[in-house]
């Protein structure tokens, strides 16, 4: 089983309360979390990554238990080995593209140097055609370059699975189609489990073997992608 997720969390924002109760299990390598905005998709991804603490439940990916309240297992986000691509990419603004990608390659209290030589980093710079902008800072990049940098940064860490939060939301249409194609090739190449959030039907068809539908904090159905979109 690739994905075995059961999570509950009560989110409070002022007087408003939002009950999140998400359960799904799937053997699909490429899973899509589909639903309208406000359904709790992003919070679900944050719970899985461990950067938001659940009230209870269980998270196991590829047979590895990351969180289980009954067995008192709660791995830190650092040791979950999940690649997270944030919706607005969360690139480090004070670091160049190369430093951003190399971030996870260096432990300790210092950031990677501006001019470091690291074969893994250079390979990902090649893969994502980022050579021309490797010395640039995030605010100098186009939307597509930012997205590729964020993907490269997550992949250099050699994650056990990849979590993507609406990776194309910030892009316009032709670019979205192109990057969707690139991500599809990458999925085929790396064979890494991916969980992708979207509210775009085209993403579901291109990038998901199975789809989990969410609405108002709950899973409302799990299906093969085409049926889900057409129903």
């Amino acid at each position: 089983m690739s994905w075995d997720i059961a999570l509950t969390k009560t989110l409070r924002h002022g007087d408003a309360r939002f009950e999140l109760d998400v359960r799904f299990a799937s053997a699909a390598r490429r899973l899509v979390l589909f639903g309208p905005s406000g359904a709790g998709k992003t919070q679900t991804l944050r719970l899985i990554a461990g950067i938001l603490r659940p009230d209870g439940g269980r998270v196991a990916i590829g047979g590895r238990v990351l969180y289980d309240d009954e067995r008192a297992i709660d791995l830190s986000p650092q040791s979950r080995a999940l690649g997270f691509v944030f919706q607005d990419y969360a690139l480090f603004p004070h670091l160049s593209v190369r430093q951003n990608i190399a971030f996870a390659r260096r432990r300790g209290w210092l950031n990677p140097a501006v001019a470091q030589a690291d074969a893994a980093v250079e390979r990902w710079i090649d893969t994502f055609h980022l050579h021309a902008v490797a010395g640039h800072y995030p605010h100098q990049l186009s939307g597509g370059q930012r997205q590729r940098t964020a993907l490269a940064r997550a992949l250099v860490h050699e994650p056990a699975a990849l979590l993507l939060d609406e990776p194309f939301a910030a892009l316009d249409n032709p670019l979205r189609r192109q990057l969707r194609g690139e991500l599809r090739e990458l999925q085929a190449l790396l064979r890494i489990p991916t969980l992708l959030i979207t509210h775009d039907d085209d993403d579901v068809e291109a990038l998901g073997d199975e789809v989990v539908q969410m609405k108002a904090g709950r899973v409302v159905g799990a299906d093969a992608p085409l049926e889900a979109v057409r129903s």
Partner: protein
Amino acid sequence: MEGAWVALALTLKVAGCATALNLLLGVGIGYAMARWRFPGRDLLDALFTLPMVMPPTVLGYYLLVVLGTQGPIGHWLLQQFGIRLIFTWQGAVIAATVVAFPLVFKAARAAFEGVEPQLEDAARTLGIDEAAVFFRVSLPLAWRGILAGLLLAFARALGEFGATLMVAGSIPGKTQTLSIAVYEAVQAGQDAAANFLVAVTSIVCVAVLLAAGRLVPGRVPQRA
């Protein structure tokens, strides 16, 4: 004139030590207050800001009560280590540190609150431990704001008068800082000495401001 240079050296030493202490205290407490939620946080924030609004002489009096040989901390220091802080330059450092603390604390807190928590989360998912997240993401992004606060605190410590006089007194060559020396010279009718001290103080202040303009680096964009 000799005395003026001694007072200047002492003033720079006291202000420098106070600023170094405030770097550690202000950044540490500013970060904690920006990132952690706990009961009584607002009250604590008000207490930490108090030195900014209270008259320095009142602060000095509090410090005397606490650090004096009869006070709780002063008594303990004397018993355990034989340390007396009142009427020493170290006492002047503590007075200047307390008076200037809110300037660093407020600046650091605002600077850390301006750092997107999502960037820290991104670093965590990349396997970077909590201390390294602070030194590699939070601190570099907040550094400009903190530096501005530190420079203000240094300037404030240079000019400290009331609390320092209460705690450390005015012993020439030992605890008499520039601003206190000016007051003493005017009281004693030594106009020439007062003129010289005022000129030295003014030049030092202008130099600090110019240095501040050079030290603060170019703008670091906060958003990617």
